[in-house]
Symmetry: C2
Subunit: 338 residues, 2 copies
Amino acid sequence: MNDLFLRACRREPVERTPIWIMRQAGRYLPEYREVRRRVDFLTLCKTPELAAEVTLQPIDRFGFDAAILFSDILTIAEPMGFEITFNPGPVISAPVRTAADVERVREFDPEQELPFVYETIRILRRELEGRVPLIGFAAAPFTLAAYLAEGAGSRNFVEPKRLILGDPTTARRLLERVTAATERYVTAQVRAGAQAIQLFDTWAGLLTAREYREFGLRYARQVIDAVRGTGVPVIYVARDATHLMNEIAGCGSDVVGLDWRAPLDESAGKLGERYAVQGNLDPCVLFAPAEVVTRQAREILERAQGLPGHIFNLGHGVLPGTPVEHVEALVRAVQGRN
Amino acid sequence: MNDLFLRACRREPVERTPIWIMRQAGRYLPEYREVRRRVDFLTLCKTPELAAEVTLQPIDRFGFDAAILFSDILTIAEPMGFEITFNPGPVISAPVRTAADVERVREFDPEQELPFVYETIRILRRELEGRVPLIGFAAAPFTLAAYLAEGAGSRNFVEPKRLILGDPTTARRLLERVTAATERYVTAQVRAGAQAIQLFDTWAGLLTAREYREFGLRYARQVIDAVRGTGVPVIYVARDATHLMNEIAGCGSDVVGLDWRAPLDESAGKLGERYAVQGNLDPCVLFAPAEVVTRQAREILERAQGLPGHIFNLGHGVLPGTPVEHVEALVRAVQGRN
């Protein structure tokens, strides 16, 4: 097996830097859009054969060094008792605003109620035949709780802030339920065959350091510890969180994902020797000419020299409309094939 | 005149910390919504009597220590040759993508072609009767250029990045034209009576430090220098720019606006003694109970003690739906009236 990714996660020596990119199975790929012409997003997530098919598309096309389960960070919210629709961003029925709302949050057995997730993982492990490792994922607790409180994606996320500032006890109770569900959800992914877990803390960057310590880091760390107990590495990715790097240094994961805002080596310095890092090309760079993509990829590789472990990735998910030839150029530059 | 604001800008001693809030004349105010029921946003910006009326609303209601011209950061784009519509965010006709597009950017005399801006300022100076100072404003050059390249507000702003990475020469030519227009636009605001200028670099936070130095800071600094040449203080506000603080320390303004992500004293430390700071309450805090608003306002005032100058403000603009009683509680807490 190509285990460069897993070795980099564990800060073991690698012959070359492994690369995968967030949302690598997505709308920028013509073969993905072809599948989406036939089924809507939720149906795609819930149909294991199709979810596995789109997961493999970027592996087949580009030769990335890791595959990531095709799913959505809100998949877990349905069995918790919420209805999710897409319009086009996610909209959650009856968001959590009060202590009584938290009592509505159902405990559930993820293998019973989200069987399609685990079936997709099993299919993928079979079809990957050991070509590259498979990453499972979930939202970190604060980010899931933020969606449940807000009821939709939003630039400001007033409701989660209102909850943590106005009723911290209820916020903590919500976070505890979300954390317990997320632990069960991801450890079952590992049992089904996921070889690493990525936790997305997409909204952590909206918090101050103090808020993050109390309502973000603490719960993320519980999920991270639970996954590490199963023996697979964990990648923790907080978006737009340059100001939280000193706190993130306490998250206990194997790898920390970094956006492009701060130089890779600078952030790695704040995290310390304990962590491998993942990142951090600005996804907008992929819209620039191929030679710019190649140059910027090389600069990141240079900055990463001497770090304990580095997995090449983008600083955010790849954007719709990204030219596939530029992704190809990126992979070639990182894998040293040109 | 209540000149607390101007003295704080100049790092002179003040009896108490002055306060105003970004977008203080806005949708959260019932009297503003009342005006907007009669006229659309663009008409409001272009009708001096009405623009002056809404500018004064928050001064009359809350007793803020500064008024800010009611206008839009894209007002300047129309005489440059672009059509602006709102849907509900701004949409710009025929965005700038090529060298030929830059040649279309018109030079213009702002006092001739945007007379309503200057008339609003003259009305306001008369009607304020010296109660509080009047702030004029504009977008910083990178932010205006980013809008002109993208053609609309967007979360990713692919087009400005594509331009600066793929065709830096054209990007620089666009920035030079934008900078020259902005200089004329704001220095004429000072001649009409604006007593300070705020430059909004709303999209600077999307840049890496290197990109910012080359395409953001350099041009912002030119406008700042031009305004300072007229003798009035300049406030420079880059949004979501914690990672750029060391660069912003070279912007040369009188005041730097800070968002809530980093503690006020920490950012001020990076800026150095040369700068007064403005900020930095998270606008979401205003949705929490009034006692939380008061407590957080006091914490910011404590953190600001010993800084060379401090103007209380939010870290972003006040959000639609913000309870007016909480704004009232904030102003009382800062002005020491409770």
